[in-house]
Symmetry: D2
């Protein structure tokens, strides 16, 4: 039961022909395979709960690559991409209470009205007025300025001077790895955990799973370079799955018991299958990957194995906690950054990010060129 | 860490001498032992998130009696009392999205901004901008009209025609018994539960504890009339504690194991002591009572008993769920009502409620006399 | 890590040619489609933790039908079938401390050593020395006598006079419906629950889900007779799925939100699909059904829906609690019984149970013919 | 409801005058203030579930000092003290399945039958046939040999060569700090935690609380030496409470919010008071200390603070997990050891342990002198 009507719907705005305000530069999507860093009207306050944020640091997500390929039908021609970023508040709506012009802020990839039934149970991902809308159904963060609806509950305060390269990882991938992988996987001290996929999300999971002190962490991937990164980040065993024997290898490593927690961080049937094949009786499979097709669930083997399987879109409810931990020095997400670009070089950054294996890319940083 | 600055503080308003708007009638507190049903300026929208509600049904809480005695120092001369009620929305602030003029609504005793750190973890009771303020630090519901701050997240929608006598129990005592007693007590199917105190809160606990199907429910009180009510409401054994042997009696009833859950619904040392004396190893003591003095905790006996003790001010996070259950017909809180008065007879209602043992009062209903 | 070596393995015993002890009658499996009520050596104590139980009441499970068809390869020629029963202890091993000859007992379908790592975390179903072995890898309960290994932790005490028809439902189907469906589904007061399958297990789930006071319970089946039984047992809405529109119907009933909990109690792809189709964001799918083939998991739709899917073989950890609730009168599992037979008429009972739709069979009772 | 009768009661045995078996040396209690390292009959198997363990490493607990003072009335003249130790299995009863003569084992301070109702819910501390009996109601581990009842479920396997100084901390203080303090305190990543008391138990809590990655850990004690140790072990702030201002200091450190978790590791009213004074709304107070007198609970301040207070005697259910973590190298409990003695010098070891402040003692190790 809904306890509140949807608010004024914040989005799908298009700049009218009559726009006369100042312009900015932004990465604009123009259909599959087409996007450009181009002039675009600067966003303005539309609602009393909005904030306008001038971007100082942004980054690119694997989802952005999918959008560019045309895989995400909700993203239409003219949309500014990007859902991650740090910036400075440039303007605020009349009702904003938590932020003022000039505040340094972290932008959450999830917009939360805080009032609907889903928000009130902490499922911001399913907010009836927000959710994942930035760079999807409203303009995003790969731009000089971005409008943030429900800003009081969709931004997080940062100190004026902050390690932006590290903290921008908290816009999406750190809460995603932590909430969808670690929390949903119910990792406990002493557990044996396998993470399938050593890309940025899998590595973010690897960093945050260590909050719970598992006794063993197996990292499974096709790319030896990424596996070596995983080793430096704390994996206790590496499994290159390119020979098709990953399941067998993990079962050997666990005296044929399987793992307590298997975390899927890729999003294809083959990696889901590995998770099914290695899960111990009583274990948890936590899916993070974005899947484009069904998978075969071997329920004829799992029905009596007391297994739990979870899915989740990140809610970013743990972002304040993750900020505390990064600020306490116990977590250094900055080590996920491999390349840096000026924001105006975002097209080049997409090239580097899109050729991750060749370029050994994990996360790329986009830094603003200064105030306009 | 706070994620939001306090909003404009909603309250401690006093009607200025220059007030020229319409008047209404209200129960106004004038210091210990003094209150009157008198003319008072009708409240107006002060903030865009406010609603003005015309009261159709209200009731009196044990806390109101404490206020009248002068036990609650935050309540000052001139305050309108009451934190429970049902009514019709009479006016709304510009920012209200969930309610319109004419909507029938349930008023929560707890006001929640929904944005502060406490609200975001479901602890509305500790809302940095609200909490228990109605009839405490701002004017309350024993009046013809009341102003509700943060109305989107402090009111609940009702159908136009509703059993108001039953539903007004959801303003406070049903969520209080359920959250502070039943949920905090972690009652499970098959448990043995004792409720100490068969007043309105204890009986609300008795009604809602049955959601979890305990195998036995012991009701402990000094008043045989209330114990008989408890029996009709589902208690499986009654213990009159006036002889001082309640602990011994419960231990006999449980083959000397004690109870899995002991719920304190009075708020004095003697009843707290009963809970300590009857709790099983591994059990839960859930305190609901409002205490005015310290208690002696027998930790020299309990330190190795694996016992959990909880305190809580109701958060009213379960109100939507309780509404669903009342509407499904599985809970009839209307049976807590023993007396009915016109709202204008509120002084008489206080007399009846204040002499509960003599009058066999549980909850009194205050019905509005019609629209002014 | 295992904390204990497997004990002497209890089972796969075959009566030797040289057997000279007393005989009994038992239902013996002789390969697919073949079984007979025939003479068989009476079991004897093999281990100091064993008990021999003389059966007074038994019943037939859907799994027994699968065994008879040859679907369960662990069951071999010569095996006595059955894993449910009540009886009287006839002999005890030297090490038994909890039971004596003459005690009335409930037999758990799951044998638990109580010492292995799985038992110590309450996963008796995966006991390294037991689990589901009765009528599977060792002789079962559809006989005049049965040997129970680890009897101290695999039997439950009953009073000398007990409602055996009701209590024999606690050998398997009540804990199965409750643990695999209700507990794994994390049903909460006020939830909307769908149970797919109104056979004995689905109905046992329906009875026990009411321990948690859901606001709505939808029962989905192909058989109108079983749906009518479900209505009498507490279902709030019935959905006959034979027209292929069950998903659509449930979505209409829930204002297109779907259900909080979907419980699969059949074990085929079609019923699993219904569960996938009706689950709300944030909901739980709890599988009870025994599946013989993989299912297609629509993870391309569910990946961002915050859904939890569980599987489980019953652990029977809740049997003592269920016994308390049955004894408190809050649960009447006896109403699942539709037919009664003498134990010696077990072949006729299988016919009736195997033609459930025609005979309107739920559970059949097998009563012993008296002491031999 | 008990599901099993108590077994043969294991204990309170006294060596009969007619004892003719071999002797050993042991620390025997002879009433308040009196004990001696003296000849004593070597224990023998009394029950088929017993093991006899030859002690290779033992240690002294604060509780042993209390016993010596006469504070523990269940300990009577003639009792061998000690409930911690590592050794080699010397003899096994007929029913033991998990251990053989020659196995290296860790002795749990808690004896668990694994079959009673408490054991089956993981509350081994309240085992109806065991619990804390070693060095209490039966002879203990400060001896050359000890008899362990229910050895299958009261011993843990170790590899033949093991770091005994580190692992003997898992007999008692590591699971005690972890279960009673960390688990009961429900510590989460990012929390602010205070530990009151930097003795061996408080330091064991400090080591294990880091499994959950709190953002801040305050250590509170009267002894600057112990506080410095705490700093080396991971405390992020130190508070010397000897000036009576500990509460004020912690409130300053937390911007007057208080701590999420306060862990009491001393057992006197003054330290309990600190916990009450510093707990945040919504926080957890976890008591570990052994208390000899009641405390005043300020429920007049806490009733509306949503606080949880727990007590617990260690269950040692987490010992297998702690063993895995120690073996994975993530925890080095050996750093708690400050002094080492030959087992035959146990009287000297008591002196050193009893003068902890002067001697800067944390844990003392008692090493056997070799096989007799």
């Amino acid at each position: 039961m809904k306890t509140a009507q949807p608010d004024v719907i914040p989005g799908n705005e298009r700049h009218s022909a009559a726009h006369t305000g100042p312009n900015m530069k932004a990465l604009v999507y123009h259909g599959p395979g087409k996007c450009a860093w181009e002039d675009h009207p600067r966003p303005a306050i539309q609602d009393a709960a909005d904030a306008i944020v001038r971007i100082t640091t942004s980054t690119i997500c694997g989802t952005d690559l999918h959008i560019l390929k045309g895989d995400v039908p909700t993203v239409t021609d003219g949309r500014i991409l990007g859902h991650e970023g740090i910036g400075v508040v440039d303007a605020v709506g009349d009702r904003l209470s938590g932020f003022r012009t000039g505040d340094k802020v972290l932008i959450s990839c999830i917009t939360a009205c805080a009032k609907c039934d889903f928000c009130r149970k902490g499922m911001y991902s399913h907010c009836r007025n927000g959710g994942w809308i930035l760079g999807n159904t409203i303009d995003g963060t790969q731009a000089e300025y971005v409008r943030i609806p429900y800003a009081d509950t969709s931004l997080h305060p940062l100190p004026p001077v902050a390690d932006e390269e590290a903290l921008v990882m908290l816009s999406d991938i750190l809460p995603t790895g932590f909430e969808c992988g670690v929390l949903n996987g119910q990792v406990k001290p002493g557990d044996t955990v396998a993470i399938v996929g050593a890309g940025p999300i899998g590595l973010a999971t690897l960093l945050t799973v260590q909050f719970y002190s598992p006794a063993a962490i197996f990292m499974i991937d096709l790319d030896d370079n990424r596996l070596q990164v995983a080793k430096r980040f704390g994996a206790t065993a590496l499994v290159n799955s390119s020979d098709g024997n990953a399941v067998q290898r993990v079962m050997e490593l666990t005296e044929r018991n399987g793992v307590d927690v298997a975390i899927e961080a890729v999003g294809v049937p083959a990696t889901f299958d590995i998770c099914q094949g290695i899960i111990a009786a009583g274990g948890h499979i936590a899916n993070i990957g974005v899947h484009g097709e069904p998978v075969q669930l071997h329920i004829e083997k799992l029905w009596d194995r007391n297994v739990t399987l979870t899915t989740r879109l990140v809610d970013t409810v743990t972002t304040p906690m993750l900020l505390r931990i990064v600020q306490s020095g116990r977590l250094q997400p900055g080590k996920l950054v491999t390349h840096r670009f000026a924001l105006s070089d975002v097209m080049k950054a997409y090239d580097t990010f899109g050729n991750a294996a060749r370029e050994k890319t994990l996360k790329v940083i986009l830094k603003s060129d200064g105030v306009r």
